[in-house]
Amino acid sequence: MILERDAIVPLKRVEIIIDDEDFDEIQKICRSLDIRGYTYLREVGGFGSRGKRQSEEIFLHEKNILIIIACTEDQAEKLVKTISGRMKEIGGICLISDCDWVKGPTISY
């Protein structure tokens, strides 16, 4: 990584894909863990253990939501612990990767 060390903050990028209707629950969990920022994309389709979920099928509209959370490793660990049990029931996936937050905008992680 050539990018200057003091211009970035290493964080975790948590990516959660679940049923759109379960989003409220995840939002509450985020609030309770004091996660200060997240992004979501609706109308997401997919294929997984429960078969196809097609956001574009008008007669059987099942859609996922994709949630992206940039947070500290600490927060990520807490988040993952809290939701992994619940996700056993509601399905979906949760991926974690490394990322760097570029300093500049107001901090919201």
């Binding site: 429960r50 078969g51 196809k52 574009e56 099928e57 008008i58 007669f59 059987l60 509209h61 099942e62």
Partner: protein
Amino acid sequence: MSISSILVPAVLFFALGMFACIIKSDLKFPPDMHKMIVIYLLVGIGLHGGKALTETSMSSAIPAVMAALILGFGLPIVAYIIMRFIGRIDPMNAAAIAAHYGSVSAGTYMTAVAFLNGINVEYEAYPVIMLAIMESPAIIIGLILAGYSRRVLAAQQGGIGGTAVAGGGGHGDQKGMLKHLVIESFTNGSILLLFGSMAIGSIINEPNMTKIEPFFDKIFMGALCLFLLDMGMEAGKRISEFKDVGIFLVIFGIVMPLIGASAGILMGHFWLQYSIGGVTLVTVLAASCSYIAVPPAMRLAVPEANPSFYLTMSLGLTFPFNVLAGIPLYYASAQWLAHNY
């Protein structure tokens, strides 16, 4: 009934939509347009039905309600038995498909109304109540059939492998699901719209009705054409999936509406004793197959079933059959019955 009078615009637009799909046209409706037209049409039928009902007594509607319940509970059971014992279809798919055939299609009903209007045939107000009522019972039967199938499957596996763990687990869920589905069958958007606007149509007074009729009544038949154009494309899309569905189910998708229609026409003529128009509508309801309320309910209640099966059959097969061939056939039969018995 001349040839030109059965060239109902709505049906022709349906054919145009299928044609567009078959020749792989890039014609596409925005998905929201579909939802908007459905909302509009349901409110339109509801208001119209509600108004018609005010002119009839409540008690005279009881046979229609009973007929709706009998058809709604009875037809899925017939469908399930046929699929299981003649077609050897696996039990979960059979249960899910059966539920669709017990429920109704508002689109088919409206096309039939357009057909009757086109040839100036009168009809009773009761079928619209039946339409509203028949959406739900089949969902419950579908769930019961699925629960029954699950127990049978578990017992079979239990006989081989030991304890019926899955069966037990499924049992508790089953009750919650039943409650859930019963609630849903009242809160389901399209059922609510239909009942709600029937109620509104029956309580507002004449001058108030007159003010909203240009929107909900005068332009209804034209809007229905766009709806059917879109449905034609939706039906066309699914033709390519016939091979996955298999020959038995393809035949079933044509035969089952005819069985439903037979039950409907006999009930309509001999028991309910409606006019030719009314009998036609009852027959259409019994022959039609849901694609609005039932698919999401079955996806939830019978996740083991393959959604592509029931959607293909309902939208790609039974709906086009009813719209293009069924309705004139049911009408002709009702006419024949009326003149001969």
